[in-house]
Structures are given as C-alpha cells and as structure tokens.
C-alpha cells in the first residue's frame, strides 16, 4: 500500500518537474502582480514600495507576510537602513559604481542571513516561510532576508513523560528552538544537523540530527533514504514521518521512539541514535527504537542506579500485568478452577454466583467501559474531568457490582490492568499493550492457559521478527549481547556504563577513556563509603 502510494506520488512529482519555473522579471510591478495573484490577494501579504538613491530614482519593494516576520527587524534593519541611514553615510565611489543591487547587498543591509533568489516560485516559498524579499527595479535577482519570527509557545515543561527529578524543559513547535535546545545540551562540533523540506504543499522542514562519528553511518544513510522517499502533500506532525519511515506497518508496537524531552533525545544522540525533528511538532523522533527502550525513562539516569533498576523491574512486571491480568482471570475462572487455592475459589465463586455473564463477557464489559472512560478523559476539558472520574469510580465501579452485573474481583482486575498500563514511560507502547490485551482475553476464553501461552509465543515470535532501522527490535535480549545488559533491565552505576550499545553503534563504542581516570570513572576500592 505504501509502495503504491509512493509510485502514485512520484509520477505526480515528475509532472511538476517539467513545468518551467517563473523567473524574476526586470519589471518590478509585473513581479509584484505575479506574487499578489499567486496568493489570491491574501490579506496578510504586505508589499511596501519605496524609492531610494540620491535622486530617488531606484524603485524598490519589500514583500513579506504579516505575522510571520519579526516586525522590529523589518523596520530597523531594512526600512530604516534603506530609507534614512543610507543617505547619511558616504559610500565610496567604487561601491556605487557596481550598481544599486550590489551596494544594497554588500554594504547596506545589516542582517545576518541573506540569500539571492532568481525565480518567483522561490520567492513565494520564502515569503510564506517568514522571510522578507527585497525587489529592485531592473534586476532579475531578489534579495531574501531572513526575518523569521512569529508567535510561538515558549519552552515549557513537557506534558508527557514527566519526571520527578531532571530537567523540565520540553520541545516546542518551532524547529529552530528545538535544535537550539539540543545544542545547549551537546556543545560538540560533531552534532550535525541537516534539514530538508518535505511535503509538496506544507513544505515542512524536517531536520535529521546525529552525532557524527558516533552514529552508525548506515543508519544515518538509511534515515536519509527513507525521508527522501516520502512524497506526500502535507506533513503536520512527526507522527506522519513516523508512519512513513517505520520498518513494519502491521505491528502494534512502535519501532520509532518519540519524546518531548530534550534530555531524552540528547541521551539518545550520545548513544549513537539519530533524531528526526519535524517543524511544527514538539515530539522529536529517535531511531532505532528498541523494545527495551520503552521500559526506560530519562529519570532512570538521574536517580540512584539501584533504585532505577528496581523501577525498571516494576515497569516490566506492570507490562505483563497490563497484558495478562484479565486473560489470566478469565482462564482461571473458566478452565482451571483447580489451580486456585480452595478458600479463594470459594470466595470467587460466591461473588460470581449472581453474575449472569461468563467471565469473558464480564471482563469485556468492564475493559471496554474503562477504555471509553479513558478516551473521554483525554478529550474532556479539565473542569469536567472530575465529574467523569466520579462517574467512573462510583457509578461504574461500585454500582456495577451492587447491580450484579460484574463481580467485585473483576473490578479489581480491571483497575489493576488500567493502572499497570499507564506505568510504561511511553504512551505509544501502552497503546499496543491495551490492544493486545483483548486478543489475549479471547484466547484465554477459548483455550485457557494453553491459549495464553501460545499467544505469548506468537507475541515473542512477532517481536523477534521486528527490526528498527536494521537493528533487531528485541536486542540486546535476543540476540543476547552480554555487554549491553548493563543498561537494559538493570541500570549499572554510572562508572559501569562505559560502552555504548553495540548494535546501534559500531565504531565509537567507548563512552569514557578507561585508562584516564576522570571524575566519573570507577572509584577506588575502599572509597565507596
């Protein structure tokens, strides 16, 4: 399907390429009319015509989009310099001889980023990106001045992946802010950023960020290759990119990691992963993403290592609880009553006595109800949220038991599942568990424990067959890599984390020079107290 889509879009692209780009004309009004007509006389387009020169002979025009430019830059650096400052300074004869265009370009404009454009298509693109274009009468080139500046959300605490301890800044919707946040964390010349525009309509900037010399060249190349293959009209969020570049479409598991946290992405870059930042999305993608990564939170590295290990084990247990509690309950009550200790069995069956449904139906009712509640909770305004929680907790919980619809054990099972499914630090991962849970419930209802076990085997087979940008999804568990176990389920103390993960990075493995004692290296024995 993806391939078909690509074929289709590629054809369209080749047709476009045949069109001749419109060149800038010497006639200034003609250029301006073209721009106005192309944008359908949109009201946010600003065209300011003026004349400069000693005898006010040179006609010029500024074109920009209102709201996308930094007004003060346009006023101070462009209009003021061109219209008043120029007259007060004496330019050398040599400079004036070259012509007004070059004078303006080389001597007048007090602005950092400057570009020359030759086609009107480019002009349109830059105008719509927030740049200001300077036209001169009689020139076939236009000056493009970077004046981008628009209203955006400041750097705030991320709403997902909150931590108790650790940096609280989060990515924003602006690409430049996001790259700056990363640069602030890694001041290394090897942090390389390449940007390209994707989306025939949206022309969204997509930046590929990686540590040169640490990231695996093959993976970097693969990322570029897959990004170049994207041919789509719009790119509104990094989710689009994720779906288009992932290895396997038909899997419930995410093979691309995303995060709102600069520290998390910076840590990934230092491990040799490649980050993809999409303009307009605070969620930065990180590849390759491995199964175990979704059990790790940035906070693990800010806490003590023993505690971090414990928390990771708890997340692991929660993963299985979220996946299997309802199905285990169904299997035990339907097929394997003999496995429940007698006293507990008596309790359970006395509770279930009044319940008219089989365990599967009972479980499905409660699980679906919970999913509805959760979905409603996400969309609701905060003010109404508390009402939902009261309805959910009291009405659906207690009242459902009292009405004899479900047994109270079932309520415990559902709540345990619900809470466990939110333990995973990654929201995407929790979604996959929630989906698979229903499959396991059906398996448990038809084949009992045997069905659950076979389901787990299929799950393991599926996970083992997945790859993320060529790296086996389950590594370093399968294929087993001993040296990477220090940061998988366990989190070794800082001095123990001296190598990068092997499959992600193959060249530059050492994280610290083992021969040169540094502040972070292993403390001498006896000093551990």
């Amino acid at each position: 399907m993806k391939k078909l889509f690509r074929l289709f879009t590629k054809k369209e692209n080749s047709e476009q390429a045949e069109e001749r780009p419109t060149l800038i004309d010497q006639d200034l009004p003609q250029n301006l009319t073209f721009i106005k007509n192309s944008l359908g006389e949109s009201t946010d387009l600003v065209i300011r015509k003026f004349k400069i020169g000693e005898k006010r002979t040179v006609k010029m025009a500024l074109v920009y989009t209102d709201g996308l430019v930094n007004e003060s830059t346009v006023h101070e650096s462009l209009l003021e310099t061109l219209m008043s400052d120029v007259r007060q300074t004496q330019l050398s004869k040599q400079a004036l001889d070259k012509g007004m265009y070059y004078t303006v370009r080389d001597h007048v404009l007090t602005i950092g980023e400057l570009d020359e454009l030759e086609t009107l298509d480019d002009v349109l693109l830059h105008v719509l990106s927030g740049d200001t274009i300077l036209f001169l009468e009689g020139e076939t080139k236009a000056l493009c001045v970077s004046t981008r500046g628009w209203q955006d959300r400041g750097v705030e605490e991320p709403s997902t992946q909150a931590v108790v301890r650790g940096p609280k800044d989060g990515f924003t919707e602006t690409l430049r802010t996001n790259t700056a946040l990363l640069r602030r964390k890694i001041k290394d010349p090897n942090l390389w950023i390449t940007t390209q525009a994707i989306g025939t309509k949206t022309k969204t900037d997509v930046a590929v960020v990686y540590m040169n010399g640490i990231a695996n060249d093959k993976i970097v190349k693969e990322v570029h290759k897959r990004l170049n293959q994207i041919n789509i009209d719009s790119l509104l969020d990094s989710g689009y990119v994720e779906e288009l570049i992932q290895d396997e479409t038909y899997t419930p598991f995410p093979t691309v990691y995303n995060s709102e946290r600069p520290d998390s992405i910076a840590a990934g870059l230092l491990e040799g992963r490649v980050a993809i930042i999409v303009d307009g999305s605070p969620f930065v993608l990180l590849v390759p993403a491995l199964f175990m990564q979704f059990f790790q939170s940035p906070e693990d590295y800010y806490q003590r290592s023993d505690f971090a290990t414990l928390v990771r084990i708890i997340r692991f247990i929660a993963f299985f609880l979220a996946l299997l509690t309802p199905s285990a309950y169904i299997a035990l009550t339907t097929y394997h009553q003999e496995m429940i200790p007698t006293s507990l069995l008596i309790n359970l069956s006395s509770q279930r006595e009044g319940v008219p449904f089989p365990a599967l139906v009972e479980a499905l009712i409660m699980e679906v109800t919970f999913e509805i509640l959760r979905e409603a909770g996400v969309r609701l305004p905060k003010a109404v949220g508390s009402a939902i929680s009261i309805v959910g907790a009291l009405v659906l919980g207690q009242a459902a038991v009292e009405a004899g619809l479900v047994s109270s054990a079932m309520i415990i099972v559902v709540s345990l599942t619900a809470i466990s499914s939110f333990v995973s630090p990654s929201f995407d991962f929790a979604i996959s568990i929630r989906m698979l849970r229903f499959l396991f419930m059906v398996l448990a209802a038809t084949f009992g424990l045997f069905g659950i076990l076979l389901g787990l085997i299929v799950l393991a087979l599926h996970l083992a067959s997945l790859r993320s940008f060529g790296v086996p999804y389950l590594s370093p568990l399968a294929p087993y890599i001993t040296s990477d176990q220090k940061d998988t389920i366990l989190r070794f103390p800082r001095w123990g984390l001296f190598t990068r993960q092997r499959l992600i990075n193959q060249k530059n493995i050492d994280r610290e020079d083992m021969h040169k004692p540094t502040a972070t290296s292993r403390p001498p024995k006896g000093d551990s107290s």
Binding site: Y335, E338, F447, G448, L449, F450, I457, A460, L461, A464
Partner: protein, 366 residues
C-alpha cells in the same frame, strides 16, 4: 540475506529441543531405579551421534543438508533420501504434536476437541516457520531463561516440601547390564538425543559453523544433566512403580506440593514448560522439513506461505490419524518408532553417508 544464528541461540535451541517431550513424559523410567544410568549412557551416545552429524558440515560448510545428501549419495539416491528425510521429519513433527495435544487435553483442556488444540498449536508453529530460523532462534533465546526458571522452581518446591526419598532409588544395579543397555538402545539414545539429526539442517545457518559445534555438545550435556536431575527427583518422589506408569510424571510430582495450604497446585509451572518446549520441538522438526522442501522447490522463505500452510494441515491430519488412542500412540512411540524409524534415520543412513564421505576424502587426497 543469509539468516544467521549466534552461538547462544544455537545452545538454547539445542537445550529446548532436548527438553521437548522428554522432560514431560520422563526419560528412562522403564529402567526403574536405574533410570539415571540409562540417561547418562544415552547422553554419551547422544554426544557421539552428534559428532557424527557434524562431520557433514565440517566437510561441506555452508552447504544445505539436502545438497550434502546429493553430493554424497549421488543425485538420484540423494533425491530419494531427501524425500525420505522430509517424510521422517514431518512424521516426527506429527508424533510430537500428537503427544502434546494429548497431554494438553489430559492436563488442562479436558473438553476441548483435539483437533482445535492441534490446529491452534500448528498455526503457531507455521507462523514461526514462516518467519524463519533466525526468529525461531531469537525466540528460543528469550524463552530459555523462563524454561530454566520454571525447572528451578519445580526443583525448589519439591525439595522445600522434602518430598524426595532416597530409598526409592535403592537397590542400585538390581538389573544386569544387558537389561539396562536394552533401555539405552534403541530408546534412550534415539529419544531425545539422536533426534538432533534435525540440526543437520540448521548447522549451515550458524554464524561460525566450525567454531560453534562445541556449543551443541554443551547443549547436550546441560540438557542431559538437567533431565537427569529432574528424572531422579521424580523417581525419588513418586517411586519407580508410579513413575513408570504415570503419563505426566512431572505433573504428578508437582501436584504433591502444598506449602502452608497456600502454595499449592503449581501445575502452571509444568504447563508452561510443556508448551514452550513442545513448541520448539515441533517447530524445529517442522522447520527442517519445510527448509528441505523450500530447497527442493527453490522457493524463497517469503513466498512459501502456501507450502507452509499446506504442510501444517497435513501434519495436523497426520497427528490425528497416526493412532486411534493414546495408549496405542505411546506404545508405538516406545516400541516401534525407536527401532524401525529412529535407528535407520539417525544411525544407519548417517553412518553410511559418513563412510561415503571418508571414501570420497580418500579419493580426493590420493
């Protein structure tokens, strides 16, 4: 792209394969108190057989097993041999499938029709074979710790309860050596150790075939030792008479565990071991047959959905038609199959091939 298996994955495949069915139905209980001698001797025989199987790969590394057969036995006889091995592997896969569906039906799913259980089981096996040996190997690596953990839990609970009684093992050597050897050959050696012939198909997938063979020996020794410990434990708990008659001695043993009236009915431990090891045993046999068919028909793995599905259904049907009831199935498995099916395929044919190999080598050097 060549699918490759690491050494650890190979080791875990061998261990889980050896555990398949043998850990559940027990090994050498016919020899009563002397079961442990039978297992030890069988293990030694198994290592020797394993050495024999590896000879073909040392002679022709990176060559698929069917091709080796044709090289050694000539194109026509080799072709027949390939089909014979395919039939053998499918037959054993069907037998093991029958074993496990019967055991599942007897232990946990009392009223589910056999056909439904075997179809579901076979579906998972087919899915695994479709994904290829690399994925199977990785999965085995993932499940080995769980299987070992479950085995460890079994031993722990049984010993905490102080169930094993040494007097069940006495008197030592109450049978003469000939009688003991009759349990070693053909039954003990062929099942489960001789069944390693199936790994002849997997050897070429190893990352470093020639260096990895010792991991196979290690696998045999580890699995053999664990089998020995568990069999002896079962013998000491149940006593030779009950152990011999029991269908699932492991389950009967663990059902005796009752700690403080709370930790009791630890059956899931046995069922987890049963399903995991059974899955790998059937999968490896089935994969071997499929790999040979893929070789014959020149079918790439990704295009063999139909073949795998068809063969899967064939195995399911075969597993049901194989015998009318469980008693006959077990009887066949103990008396007929080892001598008339296992011995030719595991010993006679490989030995003849080995002789042919030696002759060929001599000719080449001369």
């Amino acid at each position: 792209m060549k699918e490759s298996i690491t050494r650890y994955q190979f080791l875990s495949l061998v261990i889980l394969f050896e555990f398949g069915s043998s850990i559940i139905v027990g090994l050498g209980f016919e020899a009563k108190q002397n079961a442990w001698i039978v297992i030890l001797l069988s293990m030694i025989g198994g290592v020797l057989l394993y050495w024999l199987f590896t000879r073909f790969v040392t002679a022709y590394p990176d060559t698929p097993f069917p091709q080796v057969l044709q090289k050694l036995a000539g194109p026509y006889l080799g072709y027949i041999l390939i089909w014979m091995y395919i039939a053998y592997f499918l037959y054993i896969a069907a037998r093991v499938l029958r074993d496990f569906t019967m055991l599942t039906a007897q232990t946990i799913l009392h009223e589910t029709p056999l056909l439904a259980v075997s179809l579901l089981f076979m579906f998972v096996v087919c899915f695994a074979c479709y994904l290829g040996i690399e994925v199977i190997a990785r999965t085995s690596e993932l499940f080995l710790p769980f299987a070992l953990l479950m085995g460890g839990l079994f031993l722990m609970f049984v010993f905490i309860m102080d169930l094993p009684k040494v007097h069940h093992l006495q008197p030592f050597f109450n049978q003469d050596i000939g009688e003991i050897l009759s349990f070693v050959f053909p039954t003990g050696i062929t099942f489960p150790f001789g069944e390693l012939i199936v790994f002849a198909i997997i050897f070429p997938h190893l990352e470093h075939p020639l260096k990895s063979f010792r991991y196979g020996v290690m696998g045999i020794l580890i699995s053999g030792t664990i089998l020995l410990i568990i069999s002896v434990t079962i013998l000491m708990v149940l006593g030779p008479a009950i152990a011999m008659r029991s269908v699932v001695p492991l389950l009967d043993t663990i059902s005796l565990v009752n700690l403080q009236g709370f930790i009791q009915r630890m059956d899931p431990i046995v069922i987890i071991i049963m399903v995991i090891t059974g899955f790998f045993k059937i999968t490896i046999f089935f994969y071997a047959a499929i790999a040979m068919l893929q070789y014959l028909f020149r079918l790439p793995r990704t295009q063999s959905k139909g073949l795998i599905g068809f063969m899967g259904i064939l195995v399911v049907i075969l597993s049901i038609l194989i015998s009318p009831n469980f008693v006959e199935h077990i009887k066949e498995g103990l008396d007929i199959v080892p001598l008339y099916v296992h011995v030719p395929f595991q010993m006679i044919i490989p030995s003849i091939l080995f002789v042919l190999l030696l002759i060929k080598n001599r000719k080449n050097t001369a």
